[in-house]
Amino acid sequence: MPEQAFRFGRARHLVGIVGTPDIGRGGVGVILLNAGLVHRVGPFRLHVELARRLNACGYPTLRFDLSTIGDSGASGQSQSRTQQVRADVDDAMALLREHAGCRRFVLVGLCSGAENAHTVARADDSHEKLLGAVFLDGFAYRTLGFRLRHYLPRLLDMRRWSRWLARKAKQAAAGEAPAFSVAPLPQAVVRADLEGMVARGLKLCLVYSGGINMYFNHRRQFRECFGAVMADPAVTAHYASQTDHTYALGCDRRWLVGQVEAWLRRNFPTVHAGAS
């Protein structure tokens, strides 16, 4: 199995695994970003399964830990979160270029990984290195359509009303808890970002799961959230209502890996695509 472990980066603070296909150097490199705080193997080892499948299809891969996640340390530099993510991904691209000969890349991220992939892809010059991105449960917003689909079936359900009232009473008694979270980008900004990515030639694949049904509940919501760009041929979108957020079942992981593989083959065919 052609996988190599590296400590790399501008402060040698990052840890990652490069997987190379048997068919030689070059081609499109695929970089997998951390999902939340799970280290580079991914939730239920999803990133290992995906990386090895893509290697078998001819794509070099790098799964690595961003600064301070998993086995990676801090760079020691004073950087904003955006600067740090972009610098880490730059380091990752440099490693994959050096060891697999890749010059153009695709980012894959789940949840916060999708957010980080978006952070890199929205930069004005991202197309110089990036060819595309796979956003798994990336940005999403509750739309009017979401609310209708969510609340209408519940209107006449008295048990739900009583549970809602009980919950509200409990929350009122507990008082306001301090919240520590990163505010997501506004919907209009993300919509403009996606339009900008497509205008610069990036190919996008959005796969959203039933695990985020508290704010995303139908395939139509892609268009409701992001507008006409979702109809662009450069954009592929799937809504997998049956799966959970982190693909805990083997059959769901296999489905997802198949979707990503098919999207890559369609958009960035390798010379030897089909070798496995």
Binding site: V15, V38, H39, V41, P43, F44, D71, Q242, A248
Partner: protein
């Protein structure tokens, strides 16, 4: 050597199939520590804690090796290929690798859950000088029943799935990881009675009074109860990291106190 440079990732073992991270110690002593990981989701949840423990032990002058068994983590193989006997032989290989890299004569071992069971099962063959375990699995059939129940509850959990999933979608897996019939049988047959015994057993199971551990540790003084219960099999915290400052402190202190034993 900077802090991060002291943690070196690499592949080792037969055909370079095993992944490990070696934590070099700033000052070399005669002892090194092998960290035996648990399996499945416990491995993912404990990853951070294992790194913290390795950092703490290396700071005390003990080089540490963390590694992944075949079919786990970054090592070769897929989850369906995890085999208990291979886990044992991988642990032997890792102990040899640690001796070679660190130059240490004495190797100590730590393991949580099934990692603790592995450390005990292979303790004599690996010539571990000392073993510390944390909530080791000593009743395989009870463990299998608990994992089956957890998997069934997970597929029916409508906080995870919009609709309950079919049994066929979830069979042959334990909370996110494929489990072959072979591994299931091997773990189901586990029971206390290993030739090696731990010098310290850290207990954080809610339902286990200390006397349940006496098949592993004859001397109750070697059992220490951690204040906080660890939610190993709690579906609501299935994807929450297991962190325990008390555990890191207890293991570090134990091996500091027994440095000259």
């Amino acid at each position: 050597m900077t802090h991060v440079d002291s943690e070196q990732p690499f592949f080792f073992g037969r055909d370079g199939e095993l992944f490990g991270i070696h934590h070099a110690a700033a000052v070399r002593g005669g002892r090194a520590v092998l960290l035996c990981a648990p399996l499945g989701q416990d491995y993912i949840r404990c990853h951070r804690l294992y790194r913290q423990l390795a950092t703490a032990l290396a700071a005390q002058g003990m080089p540490v090796l963390r590694f992944d068994y075949y079919g786990c983590g970054d090592s070769a193989g897929d989850s369906t290929q995890v085999d208990w006997r291979r886990c044992l032989s991988d642990t032997l290989a890792a102990a040899g690798e640690l001796r070679r890299r660190s130059g240490a004569e004495r190797v100590l071992a730590f393991g949580a859950r099934l990692g603790g069971s592995i450390a005990l099962a292979v303790g004599a063959a690996a010539r571990f000088d000392d073993i510390v375990v944390w909530d080791p699995v000593i009743d395989g059939s009870a463990y299998v029943a608990a994992q089956d129940a957890l998997q069934d509850a997970m597929r029916l959990d409508t906080r995870r799935f919009i609709r309950p999933r079919a049994w066929a979608d979830a069979q042959g897996q334990w909370t996110g990881f494929a489990v072959s019939p072979l591994l299931r049988g091997q773990i189901g047959g586990l029971h206390a009675g290993w030739s090696a015994a731990p010098s310290l057993l850290l207990d954080s199971l809610a339902a286990k009074p200390p006397h349940d551990w006496l098949g592993v540790v004859a001397d109750p003084a070697r059992i220490r109860r951690l204040d906080a219960t660890t939610p190993w099999d709690d579906l609501e915290r299935l994807e929450t990291a297991i962190l325990s400052h008390a555990l890191v402190q207890a293991v570090s202190d134990h091996w500091k106190e027994h440095a000259y034993a």
